[in-house]
Amino acid sequence: MNSTVVLNPELATLSRIVVLAALTLYSIAFLILTVALTRRAGAKKAKDALANKLELVGISLMTLGVVVHGIGVLTRGIAAQRVPWANMYEFSITGSFVVTAIYLLALIWRDIRFIATFVSGFVVLIIGWANTRFYVQVESLMPALQDYWLVIHVSVAILATAFFMIGAALAAALLMKESKFINNSKLKGVKIIRNVLNVFPKTEKLEKQSYQFNIIGFILWTFTLIAGAIWADKAWHRFWGWDTKEVWTFIIWTIYAAYLHATATRGWDGKRAAWLTMIGFTAILFNFTIVNLYFKGLHVYSGL
């Protein structure tokens, strides 16, 4: 069935260059956004016209970056003749594309410009790391992966991760804002951070926004888990077998379930819930990196 697949290594190389071009755009955006943020923090007037302009430039560059990035992801898929998410390099470039796209789309719906620096910085790290550490040439799918569930299960997992990432960025902002150390320290560097945090929205707003991204992430993660079980029943003769990746998917689900209970429990909302978000997202990163690379299991698709 797959013997007619013709891989295109030249196009894959071109795709890599396009992704690196996107990386350059994101890096410039990150620098400009950082300048905008510190400038805003230092401004005496609440509204600094230059900071606003810089922010606009930064977000425009991110938008341009995401278009270029999208072309890179698409050409990678064409070069491999399949969905571009079958190894660590592809998960990374597709995942970071989705994070940026979701973030930029969410800007239409919610004013969360203040975390643009976090998001662009995070995406720069992912693409940079993927390009140096995870890069592999295009290869065909092993028989176990040749299934339509690859399209559904993995794409929804990536989407869920994107929402959780933005939720975690907002929770991180909340925790920094509430940090006693940052609020009381007399160190000069910390003072600058404090000034930056002062231009962030109020804690209650950060909490609410983080919650909104996390619940969408949780719905998508639940779907990932169910879809994964359906696929596992087809490919591995059981719907659940405590494979290491299944274990971590479960752990992440449980942490976010605890988070949802925390948001509705007095004494556990606010800072504690934000910490749970951070723990949950750390588990996601752990699941994607350490579990993929070093743990023994059936999900051995890193390609490395």
Binding site: N2, Q137, P143, W242, V247, T254, G267, V291
Partner: protein, 520 residues
Amino acid sequence: MSSPQPSEKYVVRKEYSEPIEAPDLSFKSWLRWIWRQLTSMRIALILLLLLALAAIPGSLYPQRSADPNGVILYFKNNPGLAAWLDGLQLFDVYSSSWFSSIYLLLFISLIGCVIPRVGVHYKALIAPPPEPPTSLSRLPAYKLLANSEKHYKLSKAEQYLKSKRFRVVAEKGSIRAEKGYIRETGNLLFHTSLIGVLISVGLGGALSYSAQRVLVEGETFVNNEAGFDSFTPGLLYDSKNLTPFSMTLDKFSTTYDYKNPNNYGRPLDFIATVTSKLAHHNPTQAIIRVNEPLQLPNSKVYLTGNGYAPVIVLRDADGTVSFSGPVVFLPQDSNLTSLGVIKNPDAKTKQYGILAFFYPTPAKLKTGALTSGHPDIHFPLLTMNVYVGNLGLDSGIASNAFDLQTHGLKQVAGGKSKVKAIELKGGQIAELPNGLGTVEFKGIKRFASLDITYNPGELYVLLFAILTFLGLIMMLITPRRRVWIRKTPEGIEVGALAKTRDESLPKLVKEIRKAMKKKD
């Protein structure tokens, strides 16, 4: 983390009018206290975190359920530590007493929390929106429209709330409205379906079985316990559920990529062509692939592995055939360097065993050692070490067919025996040392590893999982809101309350006010 919060305790005590002199320590009140704690949201939260924490070791240590060979290897490498870890059930985390007690407590807590809420929610569903609190101004969203009778109309508010799908009760001079009942419905659906998932997983697992069978091309097996290589029944498994069938592996084929240099030699497809026969039915041919199991009544057959089974003929010195047939060789790497064992207890002179390597496409490592350079067959090679001595097959103790216990045997070819290991290309015959006879590499067959499973709970697990997902969506995307409007001497009061923190409540109050405005 688990220390009781003073504020909550205080609230409970305040309900008593008399000061409590001695703590009430009767058994019944203790039970009630424990029950109240167990079903509280805070305990559910802590149990969830404990469950996440308890699941971690299962990914750090090999588990008997997922990776039994890993456990055996762990015991071999660290016997002392392994015994200690085993005592803590760290090789069976997900059936361990500590993991089980956490999730059982969690489900008891869940049931205790959900059941009373079903009744409460049912009453709320059939009841009109509740009476307003005494002071509307203390609600999170509130607006007083002072001296506004001339400009605002209650009936318009009623109209507006109804158009926003609120349940509305309008009385003289006041309105009470509520919407978002679906939030609680979804919440209850989610939690009850979760119980459904747990029960279906448990019962399904107990009634299930799974079995393995290695089948060489041309061989047939019957699905009874004797016909399987291994058989794992659930606790409540009943052999009546085993609808009998027989299955023959007609052909096993692999497609390799020879087109793309990036991908050269990689398997692209595995196809097992099988003929299965049910009682009173004609045999039917079907194909099993990695992602395409074969569905038979009360069982599914999966393709989980494959490899080579070289056909070997052993003859005694006088030419009598003492062994003949395909031997399953276990793959050792992705290029299918394979290891096989042949035991020949029927040899005339002396019992002997052979430890053999099969290289489908032989290649040499830098060290000079042989390996396989490709999983497909190109000038295949068999190498053999021969051992003479009692194979222990007559002792009545079951022995592993894939393992040759060389202890107590004398090596007569290969290794330190000073006689070169036997090397055979396809079709060749070689002399065995010590006058044992000859060995012939007659041909190559392929084998498929098949998994045969039955789990009647599967469908219910899926059904409840889908309900869980639906419940989750219903509950997380609907806000539950209450609105009260009433005329007072000061003006018209509009107040709104939400079950969870709801940022757009003030916006709702604003919208109501706008809708109430009389057009001039």
